[in-house]
């Protein structure tokens, strides 16, 4: 069978109210890819984290922007691309403090990207200046 890519796209307003809808969208595609329930849940979590970051950081919690989630499914892998038109950041310059440190500092954040990197096989961030930012994360299917 030739590799046939299926593409799904969801656009929603930049409000955390829509995270549930985003997870449902991702879960449907994950199930379609043949992942089991636990894998589907982790996939939804990774995309939830990325979208929550866009809403909070890229858009500064302003609710009138748009978050776009592309799902791309082929025989070998499943990718999600989260697109925003807000502020970008530099993932290379993030401190990765230990969770112990975060607790000591009474931090309530700093875990999202860590979860994404743990769950997905590949994570790429791309800034197209003046246009958009894209976080692409890929999960390999049929891993041995």
């Amino acid at each position: 069978m030739a590799s046939f890519e299926k593409t799904f796209t969801l656009h929603v307003p930049s409000s955390t109210e829509n995270l549930a809808m985003i997870r449902d969208f991702v879960s449907s595609i994950g199930a379609r890819a043949g992942l089991d329930d636990a894998q589907v849940l982790r996939l939804a979590l990774a995309v939830d984290e990325a979208c929550a970051n866009v809403i909070e950081h890229a858009y500064g919690s302003e609710q009138f922007h748009e978050v776009t989630i592309h799902g791309e499914l082929d025989n070998d892998e499943l990718s999600f691309v989260i697109v925003d038109t807000g502020r970008h950041f530099d993932p290379a310059h993030l401190q990765s403090e230990s969770v112990e440190e975060l607790v000591k500092q009474r931090k309530s954040g700093g875990l999202g990207l860590r979860l994404i990197r743990t769950i997905m096989d590949d994570v790429q961030y791309r800034i197209i200046p003046g246009e958009k930012n894209e976080l692409r994360m890929t999960k390999k299917l049929h891993k041995d």
Binding site: L19, A20, A38, L45, D48
Partner: protein
């Protein structure tokens, strides 16, 4: 529909139980944060979070646990987590939470730990 989430508080022996239910994500975490804050302000520092009916947690939810841990410990209490289902436990585990806070199989176990203290 937005994430469904609910938190209810009840006393149990020496501890204050916060039972959380549904989806704890960036949308619902502020509600959970407020509930813990109120409990602590009312003088409860022996907190057990009953997760038996928690179906989902994201880092925003874990962040609430993180941010109160030192506070309640400094006041001589603790924040213990009970009755996590396998999927939710996995999220705690992947981020190293089992080394940071006390995760007990049941609410009963968590309360007993307080009473033994």
């Amino acid at each position: 529909m937005p994430s469904k989430f609910q938190v209810t508080q009840r006393p149990h022996g020496a501890a204050c139980i916060l039972a959380i239910e549904g989806f704890l994500d960036a949308h619902t975490a502020p509600e959970f944060e407020k509930a813990i804050e109120q409990a602590v302000q009312a003088g409860n520092v022996r907190l057990v979070v009953d997760c038996a009916r928690l179906t989902y947690i994201s880092s925003a939810g874990l962040g609430v646990f993180m941010s109160f841990l030192e506070d309640v410990r400094e006041r001589g209490g603790d924040l213990k987590v009970a009755a996590l289902d396998a999927n939710v436990y996995q999220v705690f585990e992947v981020l190293g939470f089992p080394a940071l806070l006390d995760i007990e199989p049941t609410v009963e176990d968590a309360v007993t730990r307080f009473e033994g203290a």
